[in-house]
Amino acid sequence: MQGIAVDRLGKRFGATPVLRDVSLRVAAGEFLALVGPSGCGKSTLLRSIAGIEHPDSGRIQIGGRDVTGLRPSQRDVAMVFQSYALYPQLTVEENIAVPLAMRRLNAAQRLPLVGGWMPGARAARDSITRDVRQAASSLGLGALLGRRPGQLSGGQRQRVALARAIVRRPAAFLMDEPLSNLDASLRVQTRREIVAIHRAAGVATVYVTHDQSEALTMADRVAVMQAGEILQVASPAEIYADPQDLRVATFIGSPRINTLPAEADAEGVLRVAGQAVGLRVEGSGPMTLAVRPEDLQPGDAGLPAVIETVEFLGDSLLMHLHHPATGTPLVLRLAPEERESLPASGEIGLRFPLDRALVFDARGQRVALRSLLPEAALVR
């Protein structure tokens, strides 16, 4: 297939597995974000695709070609590094030109001083200059071509790194946390630019980040990775609303999703601390009930919760509570005007739309809801 195909990639550092048989498909022209906590193996996976790391097992295809044993230079990929990895001795123009010079000029033409006199060098150099200028101006670097990386701001360096990646048309873009060294406002702006670059180039892109908001806002699909495994690959909306694994549910979303220990009896009736919550599930035994902070609604009846603190965030409120029987901390997102109708302290009841509830079994796997009991059951 076109795009990128990763098959059962495995790698260990000593005794620690960093990639456990990871498989992944990125369609041609697709933007895939690889998100996970630090140390989950996402960078190792990306660097394996680039050919910088050498996996112990598995296969990698890029653009329909098996590249498993190939060197990075033979894989036809472009990469943006977290540190940008610009050559400090070269100007912006020369930096962007490197990938082209390495491919369009032969060894003799690349020689310093005399290289320019080799046959064909002139035409090749002209084409390089043209492409470099075009890539640079598309990123607003036209005025900086003569500068060295040391004379640029972090944001400008980041653009040079992007320009170096787009200057030739690779089969895949690989980006390793390219925004993590920028300050917050620049980060949001550059997000949109990277998405635009991707649209214009239409090249399969793997974008590694630990920042879930980057992943959700930028990607066509998000792959959530943890402990060397890809837990779920889905569209941002699906990852958020329909996580198949408790670890995905808790990793994605801020504030973190509320999780309550629960128990399903033989009929699948779900109870939290003995209280039926109005749900029936497939299976029985210990479960985890998970509800997003914005799905919980305060009232007089429902799950009992004791108010602790309320944080004002401007556009919303976060109310911190705990479930008295289990001691589980809970958090609620509310509109600011809802505050007036709520007590400042004491016990209240919490409800949620039953179809928004997520239930996971003891192994953290999502269980299906069999039927929704009448909501009245929630009330004692």
Binding site: R47, A50, G51, I52, R71, P72, S73, Q74, V77, A78, M79, F81, Q82, S83, A85, L86, Y87, P88, Q89, L90, V98, P99, M102, R103, R148, P149, G150, Q151, R164
Partner: protein, 302 residues
Amino acid sequence: MSASLAAPLPRRGTGEALAGWMLTAPAAIAYGLMLLLPTLATIALAFTDYELGAPAFAWIGLENFGELLSDRGFAIALRNTILYVGIVAPLSVLGGLGLALLIESGTRGRSFFRAVFFLPVVSLPVAMAAAWQYLLHPTIGPLNAALRGIGIDGPAWLSSSDTVLISLAAIGIWENMGFNLVLFLAGLTAIPRELYAAAEVDGAAGGWERFRLVTWPLLGPTTLFVVTITMTRAVRVFDSVAVLTQGGPNKASQVLLYAMYEEGFTYFRLGYSAAITLVFLAIVLALVWLQTKVLEKRVHYA
């Protein structure tokens, strides 16, 4: 610095000043007695005809320097020193770089080989000179014995005026290479790994391409430092000359510092010796100037 502190400002200030003076005073006194005054005295001495034990001395202006210009022995010493530096500095720098790249290119035996090549740096130079004397001995030395084994009649390395400087330079390279190797290793580890990864992705497939695109430019500051420090160390060549040749045969291995030592402490012509010292100092300062003013700009890419 103390503005934010609660203590009253003036008292804090004078207390700090007093502490500053008291803490620097011992160093300042020693500096004055052992470094500043003697150095100034050396400069003054160079303009006198002072000889140790002479009842009086006179200011003779630039006469010592005039004599240097016409002194064939000094000219030879200067020429030999420049030649020695010209051989030792490039070869021990390139050797150190080559060894560092070779050691860095794999993982096995790194610290072992680093230690092996560094050993000459911590070895008593006088004793090692004696070992070299045996190694290079024309009749009983293992080197010539090995050469005889393949049918070559080796020269009298240290006692022939044709080979003595080359032999001393070889010893100098041997002494300096390990030091340079360690400096280059430190420089190599400071190069970000990501740059090599970027070079590979950009298409620099071969080792030479990566060296030209990443290693050599990024090693620039280290190389500059290694070159200057090796040159200043080589200009100071003394031990091997003093032990092995005393500048001979027939001044073929005479160098600046040994000439200065001979004039000053064998013939006790302190004024003249001081003039040689100043020439030596001028060379060292010129090297530092070259490093900071001329070359530094070309290796820092800010």
